[in-house]
């Protein structure tokens, strides 16, 4: 009993954080933290934690993991709070390890030499993030608190990346060679995927309402949107080239709008087609699942059909509709990367260029922002859904 009273908000005992800390120790022991490349194509030499950062860095990383391991042995609110702070700071400053590597191992005379991020660094970052997640979960941290932690870490990485010491990082080299293209790609990527989601959201809403009103429309409409979903994305992008090309040949004014067989037009159409199924299905199911008794009561109270739809059905269906938008947005952000193959632009351009030149860091320059955009969309729309559900 006295033990419990000393823990005002008892944290459940578990070994997750400790197991992750051990795994992290193993990773930094076995895997290369970073790679020094003489230029962008040659694969370069890998360096482990000690070779990269010397006694100071190695000591810092190992003592961090040991401290977290020890603090996590006895579950207590206060100890977990300390662990959360330590992990957050560690994650924020993690890129400094690469900076130390650059300072120690990078040949000074070579303008092409660069630092590649090794498997050890990624694993360490990933495992630290998992530990932080588990700790925040144990602390039952609020969504707002979790979000600010993520923002702090992102800000930390941003600050580290903008330091002079890390300018030799391969990823940053690739970025600084193409910073104009990068922001153009960001704009194109966002406007293509979000534009497709917005248009298909409106279309899907209309289709779902039509299906709710006329039961006969349900099977053919759902069949059609499901069929579109089954076409492989590359094939759909390809299939649209011929008809759009023919269309723009026949109507020259379309060309002035930029509508051609390749480019943004077929990409947008394909993205809309893919976005329809999850959105139509979720909207339809959400509207159909509003309890009949609630609608009956609304009607019995004297609401007209319009009021029932606006005040009862729509608000009750909204969380599930937002869930559809969330799934669709994540999917569209990923698919937009593929759309680079038909000349639509976006981050996919870097990925396919990098693959063509066997320059993995260029691939990362396209892939990482795509992943980041998808995660951000997921976080924002989940928060929105959570807010709607808890109302």
């Amino acid at each position: 009993m006295p033990l419990i009273t000393t823990l005002p908000n008892p944290v459940k005992s578990n070994r997750v954080v400790q197991a992750l800390a051990l795994a992290a120790l193993g990773c930094v022991w076995l895997l290369d933290l970073g790679v020094v490349q003489p230029n962008r194509i040659v694969s370069g030499t890998g360096y482990g934690l000690y070779a990269s950062t010397g006694w100071l860095g190695t000591g810092a990383v190992i003592s961090l993991l040991v401290v977290v391991f020890v603090l996590a042995t006895r579950p207590a609110q206060k100890r977990f709070q300390v662990v959360a702070v330590v992990l957050t700071v560690a994650l924020m400053t993690l890129p400094l390890l690469l900076e130390v590597l650059a300072r120690r191992q990078l040949p000074e005379d070579s303008g092409y030499a660069r630092i590649g991020v090794g498997a050890g660094f990624w694993s360490l970052a990933f495992l630290l993030a998992l530990m932080l997640l588990e700790t925040l979960g144990q602390l039952k941290a609020s969504r707002r608190f979790q979000l600010s932690t993520v923002l702090l870490i992102v800000a930390g990485w941003w600050l580290c990346a903008s330091r002079e010491g890390l300018s030799s990082l391969a990823l940053i080299r690739e970025y600084s060679n193409r910073s104009d293209q990068f922001f153009q790609a960001l704009t194109v990527h966002l406007s293509l995927s979000l534009g497709a989601v917005a248009i298909s959201a409106m279309l899907a809403f209309a289709l779902a309402v039509a299906m709710v009103k006329r039961e006969r429309m349900r099977r053919p409409l759902l069949g059609l949107v499901s069929f579109m979903q089954t076409i492989p994305s590359l094939a759909l992008f390809g299939l649209l080239i011929a008809p759009l090309g023919a269309l723009s040949d026949a109507f020259p004014f379309l060309q002035t709008l930029g509508i051609r067989g390749i480019g943004w037009a077929p990409a947008l159409l394909a993205l809309i087609a893919y976005s329809l199924l999850p959105m139509v299905r979720n909207t339809y199911v959400a509207l159909m699942e509003v309890p009949e008794s609630v609608v009956d009561a609304g009607r019995g109270m004297g609401m007209n059909e319009r009021q029932i739809f606006r005040q009862v059905k729509l608000p009750l269906a909204l969380p599930v509709i937002i869930e559809g938008v969330r799934i669709t947005t994540i999917q569209a952000i990923g698919l937009t990367a593929v759309a680079a193959l038909i000349g639509a632009g976006g981050f996919g351009t870097f990925i396919f260029q990098g693959l063509g030149q066997a320059a993995m860091d260029l691939v990362l320059l396209g892939a990482l922002p795509t992943v980041f955009l998808a995660l951000a969309a997921d976080a924002i729309l989940s928060a929105l859904k959570f807010q709607e559900t808890s109302k």
Binding site: S293, V294, D296, A297, G300, M301, G302, M303, N304
Partner: protein, 315 residues
Amino acid sequence: MIELKSVTRRFGDAVAVDDIDLTVETGEVCVLVGSSGCGKSTTLRMINRLLPRTSGEILVDGEDINKADPEALRLNMGYAIQSTGLFPHWTVARNIGVVPDLLKWPAGKRDERVDELLILLGLDPETDAIKYPHQLSGGQAQRVGVARALAGDPNILLMDEPFGALDAITRENLQQEMLRIQRQLNKTTVFVTHDIDEALKLATRIAVMDKGKIIQHDTPEEILRRPASAFVENLIGKGDRGLKLLALRSVGELMERYPQPRKREPNADGLKEADSLRFALSVMVWKNASRLPVNSEAGEEVGTVTREQLLQGGA
């Protein structure tokens, strides 16, 4: 006043309501009772036009309901159902205020009305008003359902097994509340139930329905004394008919009243004027008493009632 004149409702080939005539006088509680599928809910839902009738006429205060706009008609008819149908995304206060909002009452008047109804239904305007339906117990949710039905101050109240899903004690409480509210408000009420005891307790007149027809339409006492058919006799239960009759009358009607109220002896056993004869008999059997004093609401002893009186004059 609600009048149904040879009203029929078919679903395809099936006849749900078969050529019924029914008059509900202003201020009376008409209970439609019968087993499930007998057409009682269908009848109720035709009155506020949630279901169209196949043929016949339904008049409210002499006007055919089909002449009015259905929404306007329903705004003047409170509607409470078994599953409550509370809007899960709205607070209790907003749920109750839905009809005043539809009627475009000013916010101040609406809020006053909501508070008044919360108090009338035994809910707390401070704490309960801001709750969401999923935070309420079954009985509370049903109270809110009834409050919502009363909110627009309608002339007519339609209730479709509102207490059907509640446990016996909560149901009993809510029936008492209904009786109290009805004495206060005198709404013309059509109440659907399958529970004959609930019908006997609440009704001014009962309409017994079977297979879409009204078998008997009469006061609870007449239904008990002179059931029109074997079906009605079965429904009211032959075995405890006498006790059910006793339940209809109060001690105050039968007791021997003193010329002057007397001071009550402290701690003496006693009945209240409003207690039913059935309750009085039960107390006498339990206490093996042949005579019990009767107290008024004010706590004075106003008469006595004997076991003989109950047995001879009760039923």
